[in-house]
């Protein structure tokens, strides 16, 4: 075969002719939705936390090393042999028909009944969140979300201009009474929320699960007060203990007030980027059009990978393997927190999912703590990242799924040192306070 191109290194890199003085050219054109998505201080802290020598409890990374290599090779080989042309081709915007059928089985395992024509495959659950907001939210529209909310949803809220009203969580999940109170307050201003975004199972970052009673009440509120719910359920299967509770989608029983979002990121692997949304047909049509604009269709190679995997293997075995790993890691983190964190600190004890949410005494700002922690080469997500209104300053999200137990213990020990330093300092700075 004739070589048409030389090695890439022989091509000189393009010499950019755009200098700093030209920045204004772009600045004046940026859409308001492109402005200030994440604070630069936060970005800088995150940039350091991504260095390989830093113990990162900041990520939300599932363990991809647990995925069996021979299974990957087998599925890849099948695709190459039997589905090459179609896997390399565009696919339908709503996703491969057979995969949508298979997704029903996965949902059925959690007790959710749905119909394939209500399912659309998305590029990760993340795209489904983005499409929900794109479909419903005009700039300035109120949207309810837990406080804290999923940090990854924050850029979506910001980009679509949602006016997010945070509703607190407690150990039983979203405070539904406060959802109603928030709706009352909005109603008094002549406004109403376009939707409520919630993660009922093993909340990210909150680490808590919505109780059955709250779920029933929330669905009742949705029906009575016409509140549209986006139920994000990436972690439902990542359960270490306890019984699964019915989803909001199931409790809604076809009334059409719940849009359901889930993903293969946690039950298979996030690099596949395949998720899905289940929505009533009129909503799905609009989301489908949104998706056409965003990416035409989700990767057909990835969809085929998931499909051929599901045909040949029981995904529940892989999930069971992952859950075993994560449970030990969660235990390691809770043990380490018990040993290392001060008595005034509180944290959640998740029965599944990937995260612990810890709250420190109110004299510690976790962004400052992050600076101290990075001196010790350990990173976490400061709580502020989970709010759009500057709250969360004394809290932090700690991930246990992406790091082995010994590293978790070491990371939390280093964090504990940093926290103690603040505590001592606080005492020294407030001699009268006696704290």
């Amino acid at each position: 075969m004739q070589e048409t191109w030389g090695p890439a290194t022989s091509i000189p890199p393009q010499t950019p002719r755009v200098g700093p003085a030209d920045a204004a050219r772009y600045d004046e054109r940026f859409a308001s939705r492109a402005a200030g998505i994440m604070s630069s201080a936060m970005r800088d802290l995150m940039a350091i936390s991504e260095r390989p020598d830093v113990i990162s409890l900041a990520g939300g990374f599932p363990d991809t090393e647990a995925f069996p290599q021979e299974v990957y090779e087998e599925v890849a080989e099948v695709i190459g042999r039997e589905f090459l042309a179609s896997a390399l081709q565009y696919g339908p915007t709503e996703g491969l028909a057979e995969l949508r059928e298979r997704i029903l089985e996965i949902m059925a395992f959690e007790g959710i009944r749905a119909q394939a024509e209500h399912v659309m495959i998305t590029s990760g659950g993340q795209q489904a969140i983005d499409l929900s907001l794109r479909t419903f939210v005009d700039r300035g529209d109120p949207v309810l979300a837990e406080g804290p909310t999923y940090p990854g949803a924050v850029p979506c809220f910001t980009a679509w201009g949602a006016d997010v009203v945070h509703v607190p969580l407690d150990e039983d999940g979203l405070r539904v009474d406060l959802v109603e109170a928030a709706m009352d307050r909005l109603a008094a201003e002549g406004r109403r929320p376009k939707l409520l975004y919630t993660i009922p199972n093993f909340h990210n970052p909150g680490g808590v699960t919505m109780s059955l009673e709250r779920r029933e009440r929330l669905v009742r509120v949705a029906r009575e007060r016409e509140l549209l719910i986006v139920e994000d359920n990436p972690y439902g299967q990542i359960r270490f203990e306890g019984e699964a509770l019915p989803s909001l989608y199931e409790l809604d029983d076809g009334a059409g007030w719940v849009i359901y979002v889930s993903t293969f990121s946690k039950i298979l692997a996030p690099g596949i980027r395949v998720g899905w949304v289940v929505a009533p047909p009129p909503v799905l049509r609009k989301m489908n059009m949104g998706k056409q604009g965003a990416d035409l269709c989700s990767s057909t190679v990835s969809q085929r990978f998931v499909l051929e995997y599901l045909r040949r293997h029981d995904w529940r075995d892989h999930v069971a393997r992952l859950n075993g790993i994560y449970r030990s890691r969660r235990d390691a983190m809770l043990r380490a927190l018990e040993e290392e964190f001060p008595a005034e600190a509180t944290w959640t004890r998740p029965r599944g999912g990937l995260f612990v949410w810890a709250t420190l005494p109110d004299y510690i700002d976790t962004k400052d703590l992050q600076a101290k922690a990075l001196d010790r080469q350990v990173a976490f997500v400061p709580g502020e990242a989970a709010f759009l209104d500057g709250r969360g300053r004394h809290s932090m999200r700690l991930n246990y799924s992406g790091v082995p137990e010994a590293v978790i213990s070491e990371g939390v020990a280093r964090l504990g040192e940093a926290v103690r330093e603040f505590t001592d300092l606080h005492r020294a700075l407030n001699p009268g306070a006696g704290a």
Binding site: P20, A21, S40, Y363, I364, D368, L425
Partner: protein, 313 residues
């Protein structure tokens, strides 16, 4: 044409800013026909530089490690000429407490301040001195980490009850902090260029938009600050700003390019806050804007900076 190592990134909290400065500098050096050796500094830096033997090093690092004399010292040992100030000037400028002492000695006005180490609070009960400090300085005060290149960790305390919290924040970024009288006014920056006979670029004014003062967010986010270059100032004020900035540059023994941050108070008095020996070269940085106001393009600026590269303190 030279082989130039561009040192960027690193471990400091200003890593990302440094990467952006470095990318701009690399683009300019390429346009100028130089050969680039990009170095994201880590444990291998000395080995890489010893092996590559560049003609000179362009330091685009910000904050600790890069701006405080550490990297400069290593380049001295490797005998690789580098842009910007030497070891001692870098170290002095990085430490706001030391820098202020030099300003005062050279007759450059700087807001009154007191500096404390973490140990002073932990072991010597310095907290009990806070009321007296507040009385002497008057409120509000600005609390700053002694060594932190950008506005990270800087806090404003409008009342006495907020001072302890601001100290907690500042002490997260450095073991030594200073409590400084807030001098409110217009925020000016003068970039000084040269070695023995330094000269000043036009004054740039940073006008924060809806912010209490020129903080970290504003410093690096387009739109939060409006930069005016040259600043709209009476001639005598602009000349005085240039004179003081050159005096501050000399007081620390700077070389190459350094940016002097000043406040112009409502009585038209100028106060020198600090000198940055490695000014940002990002798209929103003050130095490139100052150069542009003097009719000097980014590439000309970079050419001048490498022309001033040298060895020796």
């Amino acid at each position: 044409m030279s082989r130039i190592a561009v040192l960027k990134g690193g471990h400091s909290l200003e890593r990302e800013v440094s990467l952006r400065s470095g990318a701009n500098v690399e683009a300019a050096l390429r346009r100028l026909g130089h050969e680039i050796i990009p170095v994201d500094v880590d444990q291998r830096m000395v080995r890489v530089l010893a092996a590559e033997r560049p003609d000179l090093a362009f330091i685009a690092l910000h904050g600790r490690g890069g701006e405080d004399g550490t990297v400069q010292e290593l380049l001295e040992i490797l005998e690789i000429p580098y842009t910007g100030s030497g070891v001692l000037a870098s170290e002095w400028a990085m430490d706001k407490v030391v820098a202020k002492a030099h300003f005062a000695a050279a007759g450059v006005p700087t807001p009154p301040a007191y500096a404390f180490s973490q140990e002073a609070f932990r072991q010597l009960g310095a907290a009990d001195a806070l009321p007296e400090i507040e009385r002497r300085l008057g409120l509000p005060v600005v609390v700053k980490p002694a060594k932190q290149g950008s506005a990270l960790g800087i806090g404003l305390a409008r009342e006495a009850s907020a001072v302890a919290g601001a100290l907690m924040t500042a002490l997260a970024y450095d073991d030594r902090v200073l409590i400084e009288r807030l001098v409110a006014g217009r925020e000016l920056a003068v970039s000084v260029v040269g070695d023995d006979e330094p000269w000043a670029l036009p004054v740039v004014e940073a006008i924060p938009i809806d912010r209490p003062f020129y903080d970290f967010e504003a410093r690096y986010t387009p739109g939060l600050t409006e930069l005016r270059a040259p600043a709209d100032l009476p001639d005598h004020v602009a000349q005085e700003a240039a004179r003081l900035s050159i005096a501050a540059f000399r007081a620390l023994g700077c070389r190459g390019v350094a940016r002097v941050d000043l406040i112009l108070d409502p009585d038209e008095a100028l106060w020198c806050l600090e000198v940055n020996t490695i000014p940002g070269m990002t798209d929103t940085s003050l130095l490139p804007r100052a150069a542009a106001a003097a009719g000097m393009g980014f590439d000309d600026l970079v050419t001048r900076m490498i022309g001033l590269a040298a060895l020796g303190a």
